[in-house]
């Protein structure tokens, strides 16, 4: 069965590799700054001992004060999992780096988040609406959408 990777240990290793990258460590997840998200993701994917080679799920939450993008990472090698998060505070233009070059599974997930939440994924090759049609006004999963 998949074991949950030790969050404290992961955060410690990430801080060793990239100082100032971790914003806060919550009970179940490591929250990193969005500008260092790509480096951290790459580190988690390629470093031996972590090897999170599988992106289970990629989603986003609107907490009104900020958006939180959630990455559920898995390792098929070690059969352990980790939750990585990042936050963007700019409501008008939330930007997160794309992880599509690390995990191809991020393609449709990032497009869906862009469609429904309006978060831009920088570096995505084909960032357009996935479920709704072109020309739809607004992003319906935002809390202020009516």
């Amino acid at each position: 069965m998949t074991t949950v990777f030790n969050v404290e240990y992961a955060a410690k290793k990430i801080i060793e590799a990239f100082p100032d990258s971790v914003a806060v460590v919550v009970k179940v997840a490591v929250v990193v700054n969005s500008n260092s998200l790509y480096q951290v993701a790459e580190f988690l994917k390629d470093t031996s001992g972590f090897e999170f080679d599988y992106l289970n799920n990629l989603t986003a939450v609107d907490y009104i004060d900020y958006f939180e993008v959630v990455y559920n990472l898995n390792s098929l090698e070690h059969n352990h999992s980790l939750v990585l998060k990042t936050r963007c505070y700019d409501r008008n233009r939330p930007v997160v780096p794309s992880v599509i070059s690390l995990w191809r599974a991020a393609d449709y997930q990032e497009r869906e988040i862009y469609d429904l939440m309006g978060i831009t994924f920088e570096g995505h090759p084909n960032l357009k609406r996935l479920l709704l049609w072109e020309g739809f006004m607004g992003h319906p999963l935002r809390r202020d959408y009516l």
Binding site: L131, L132, P140
Partner: protein, 211 residues
């Protein structure tokens, strides 16, 4: 049997001379031979009977309605969970073949009935309209389930069409979420009644707004 009753011998004729029997047999044979000099005519009255049965007096409307009713081919249009009830209706337990409509066509050009089974989103709506337009006349539409009738629980949603009758004209509405196969079969029998009552002169499905 009572005790002491006389014993009867069955099948044994009494006091008959075998010669008399032979004479009687010969007389019957001679009589039959004399009366059978001409062959009997082959029975051909069944030809007339069949002819009588083949001349039917009816109206063109009634005949076409009858033929349409018993060969209604539906087009595949499963959109959501209702599609599974539709599939179950076509399978052995509920067996739509009973009504001559076992062939779910993948091509709208060979279909007479569109069963809109499930939630229609605005993104799918042009596709639905296009498939409806591709179906040959005469054609019927059955809206299956709460979502197809009115949008259902998603009626207020930003992406769902509140009722497929905004897109295509609907003949029969089958309520339920999803409807049981019995309900769908009942709705289809109502479609059949409409078909048998339809007229050749009537142009169906002609929607001025779209075409």
């Amino acid at each position: 049997m009572e005790k002491g009753s006389p014993r009867v011998e069955i099948g044994k004729p009494k006091n008959i001379n075998p010669d008399e029997l032979n004479v009687a047999e010969a007389a019957r044979i001679i009589q039959l031979k004399e009366s059978s000099q001409q062959p009997l005519p082959d029975p051909d009255n069944w030809l007339d009977e069949e002819l009588k049965r083949n001349v039917l007096v009816t109206t063109v409307d009634a005949m076409l309605g009858w033929s349409r009713r018993y060969s209604t081919w539906p087009v595949n249009f499963g959109l959501a969970c209702c599609a599974f009830e539709m599939i179950a209706s076509a399978s052995s337990r509920f067996d739509l073949s009973r009504f001559g409509m076992d062939i779910f066509r993948a091509s709208p050009r060979q279909a007479d009935l569109m069963i809109v089974a499930g939630t229609l989103t605005w993104k799918m709506a042009p596709v639905l309209r296009r498939i409806y337009d591709q179906m040959a006349e005469p054609k019927w539409v059955l809206a299956m389930g709460a979502c197809a009738i009115s949008g259902g629980t998603f009626r207020e949603s930003y992406s769902v069409v509140p009722g497929v009758n905004r897109i295509v004209p609907v003949d029969v509405y089958v309520p339920g979420c999803p409807p049981r196969p019995e309900g769908l079969v009942y709705g289809i029998t109502m479609i059949h009644e409409k078909e048998s009552k339809s007229s050749v002169a009537e142009i169906r499905g002609h929607d001025q707004r779209h075409s």
